[in-house]
Symmetry: C2
Subunit: 412 residues, 2 copies
């Protein structure tokens, strides 16, 4: 009998038929005695169409106006869903971010939510209405419309859950949960019933693109439970929550991987303080999302600095790297446009260094060469050839017995 | 060197190519030293598409949600135009009705503007920006989004002109002005350079659908000059302003006509006080737009009550009329679904009753039968067979010498 926040993605509201299905699902939850707050994305395809129009007009559209443009998509979804709920005999009301006071900073196209005024929403819930809110968008103090970046509706959902002290935030999508590995690659991949915020963040950062990173960070900060599930199936999906509490004790929770990565190495960089800061500061201003960074000290007082990045950013990053090479009097820039990244993730490995050894051994036995290694407390990531990626996922899924509840500590 | 408000309709912003053309036109005005405020409609076709989606979901969509939905169309146009202006090296900023405080009453889908907060607009003009505002929409005190009804962007333009004390409001459309008759029918029809508010209202009410009625009423109330002109041609169009001032002294300014009208007669209504109020009160609740009403007292203490209405409302109005017939013990309901309406309009006829006689005589000589007559101070309207309409327009255009400056009083 609490408040439930349900977020539906673009494919769930792609057309009027699907919007009616969402209305039915929302009303089922309502009939079970819950107050329901719904967050919607724009209908699938709408945002892309708007971006295309903007790009026809300007190769580099003004960001404030871009947000003005893009925020229309969600407003269409929310109005249509409210109509559908009325048509089914219940009451509803839709709000855009401005109306409901989803305040953000001024960083257009990638704004961060600062506060939400829950008063209006709570008043409408008291009137027995389903409250439907435009995801992805916010408003600045100056009443300018902002957007939160691709996937930002997940973050709107979590932020609303926190502001309304909801029991949980249900995120409906076109997959039915988080898997131990990509089920399109590993046919024995199992749905994970429960995963910690940290693990989810590491998996998401390693290629499992099921939840917007910011939304998980926000949920972690406030301990808001996320239930990731399918819009089209009735089954429970994956719960993302605090570590520990009723969670299965697996050493490795899942395996993430990503293709379409590239690697750049600036060879022979003079070994002076502040060089790395200079290189990555410059690359960051180009909005290139650098992932793994490795620096090798050579014998001659020079370093090789390598980093991985999305393939789509390669061209831009190479231009900057060439400039940096000249400025820093480095030797040369080399790159590899066909690398892959694989990561094993699990809170169980915090105190068990044996996981890394097991992983490297399994890859070696499968004759997969490791190019770079990066670790966190709960993740070990390796850069390998992209042609080895599928085999690596299968081998590691098997090694860590993820088709069967996961390997136990004593088995390592 | 004052403020000019320019309103562009949906065909002028139908695609990105046309939006660029609007940007050029706006910047020409700006380069001439004016501050420019632009009001835009939704891209042509957008509103119809949104209405179709709503109707797929609900045969009678919730009006608040309908306004939420429809207001997205203008927001797309204004953002794209702002981008186009930036791309041409100038500054611009777009505002929806909420951001700029276009306050209306709560009558969703047909709201009336109550006030506009000009402060924000004036501030942005001082920053040398072109200010671009979403037409057609408003916001209630409670922050709900409203719309002003079809064609409402004209009204937004005029209301902004008044609030900003603009020199004039330019309304850009796909015709180049108001004509002495529909130029598709009368090949000698002449563009009217100057027309009074009253004449424009009567012509618009008689079928010349070039300006939203409310916008002319509003302009008349505050004496705001409207310049109606083509988006695609450089020539001056038609100025709508106070009567008198530099205006040509024609008896008849123009001829309006409309097809697709129907007529209903309730025959044998008992002649009692309050009957007409009852009939038209009931019909009004059905949102049927009754135009001409005529009541004939029969010899037997019974009346025949006839009225004209748009053909599209005929079915609904007939149902109500049948109910009323039974309640009032009238004899029967008859109707004619093929009538036309023709009207001659001109302030010059205020003190010259000869116009009516000239009109009736001309129609009689052309063997066009007059079914109903309705007059105002500056208009004489006749209901005729719709098949006679084209001929009637040609005959009257000729009779009143509208191809040649208009008939003079002494010629009547």
């Amino acid at each position: 009998m609490g408040i439930i926040v349900q977020k539906y993605g673009g494919t769930s509201v792609a057309n009027t038929e699907r919007i009616r299905e969402v209305a039915k699902r929302v009303l089922e939850t309502k009939k079970n005695g819950n107050d329901v707050v719904v967050v919607l994305s724009a209908p699938a395809g709408t945002t892309d169409k708007l971006i295309k129009m903007a790009e026809e007009i300007s190769p580099n559209p003004h960001v404030r106006e871009m947000d003005m443009l893009l925020s229309t998509g969600e407003q269409i979804s929310i109005a249509l869903l409210a109509m559908a709920i009325y048509e089914m005999g219940y009451k509803a009301i839709s709000f855009n971010a401005t109306q409901v006071g989803i305040k953000t900073d001024k960083a257009h196209t990638k704004a961060k939510i600062q506060s939400i005024n829950s008063k209006k929403i709570l008043e409408e819930l008291k009137e027995d209405k389903v409250v439907i809110i435009a995801g992805f968008q916010g408003v600045t103090e100056n009443m300018d419309i902002t957007t939160l970046g691709r996937g930002g509706s997940d973050t709107t959902g979590v932020a609303l859950g926190i502001a309304l002290k909801a029991d949980e935030v249900e995120i409906y999508t076109d997959v039915d949960g988080v898997y131990t590995a990509d089920p399109r690659i590993v046919k024995d991949a199992k749905k994970i019933n429960c995963i910690s915020y940290e693990e989810m963040l590491e998996l998401a950062g390693s290629g499992a693109k099921v939840l917007h990173l910011r939304s998980v960070e926000l949920a972690a900060k406030y301990g808001m439970k996320i239930h990731l599930r399918s819009s089209f199936l009735p089954e429970l999906g994956t719960i993302v929550k605090e570590e520990g509490e009723n969670m299965e004790k697996a050493v490795v929770r899942g395996i993430g991987h990503s293709k379409n990565e590239a690697k750049i190495t600036i060879v022979g960089v003079p070994d002076k303080p502040g060089i790395a800061a200079k290189i990555f500061g410059r690359i960051a201003t180009e909005n290139v999302n650098v992932d793994i960074i490795i620096q090798n000290l050579g014998g001659d007082g020079r370093n090789d600095i390598s980093f991985t990045l999305p393939y789509t950013d390669l061209k831009r990053a190479l231009e900057v790297s060439e400039e940096l090479k000249n400025e820093l009097s480095a030797e040369k820039v080399i790159y590899d446009e066909k690398i892959g990244k694989i990561a094993v993730v699990g809170v169980g490995m915090k105190s068990h260094p044996g996981v890394a050894a097991t992983m490297f051994k399994a890859l070696a036995e499968a004759e997969i060469n490791i190019d770079m290694i990066s670790t966190s407390e709960i993740k070990i990531a390796c850069v390998i050839k992209d042609e080895d990626l599928v085999k690596a996922v299968e081998v590691l899924h098997n090694t860590f017995k993820l088709d069967n509840g996961g390997i136990k500590i004593e088995e390592l």
